[in-house]
Amino acid sequence: MLLNIKYFGLLSEITGCHEEAIDFNGSTLYELMDLVFEKYPELERKDFQLAHNNEIVSGDMKLINNEIAFLPPFSGG
């Protein structure tokens, strides 16, 4: 499955992009994270949350659509 991965704030500085397509054949977000950490080892040491379907989700979440976002700590307001 081709996933659309989004990176925000500090995380997008590490990846060098705001979004990218990643071909992914696993089922949970833990597996996806491993794949992404392999590509961007620095990301693993950063504080972030994953969002999927407009909600913050945990790593054992199964994918229900193809967009996943890596979000650094929120700092609005």
Partner: protein
């Protein structure tokens, strides 16, 4: 009937004229007895001897709009409000300028105090907005809320 989420984002700073006009629009709602307004303003904080000259805001917009909508619905559920407006800047906001405008109105003052603090804390905790703090020398750091 489920209401359609409103877009609360404004490009750049929120002007004092916009806020004044927003207040004026409520003068026809004569059941309102109390308004409470929160304004977030960009501080020129110092870090390693350099001052913050602006914050550049980005957001995961789809999720942010969904979260603003959820906060709005939950607030109307919890408190007796006549109306509520939320605006947040995206893009560049200079120090001294306003980046967040939350406006709640009710017949009674007790409700607006509780509701406003609730809304502001919920926004800070749940809405995916990110601030890049820019210094005068063009270096930057990522804002961390406290």
């Amino acid at each position: 009937m489920e209401k359609k989420p409103k877009n609360v984002f404004i490009e750049g700073a929120i002007s004092s004229e916009f806020i004044g006009t927003s207040i004026a629009k409520h003068q026809s709602k004569t059941s309102i007895g109390a308004h409470n307004i929160f304004l977030g303003q960009v501080r020129a904080d110092k870090s390693n001897g350099k001052s913050i000259s602006a914050i550049e805001y980005t957001a995961y917009e789809d999720m942010a709009i969904a979260k603003f909508h959820e906060i709005r619905e939950a607030t109307f559920e919890k408190f007796n409000l006549t109306c509520m407006h939320i605006y947040h800047s995206l893009g560049l906001v200079k120090s001294g300028e306003i980046c967040l405008f939350v406006f709640v109105s009710s017949p009674r003052r007790k409700e607006v105090f509780k509701a406003l603090e609730y809304v502001v804390e919920e926004i800070k905790a749940k809405v995916p907005v990110f601030g890049k703090e820019l210094f005068e020398d063009n270096s930057h750091q990522w804002k961390v809320n406290t």
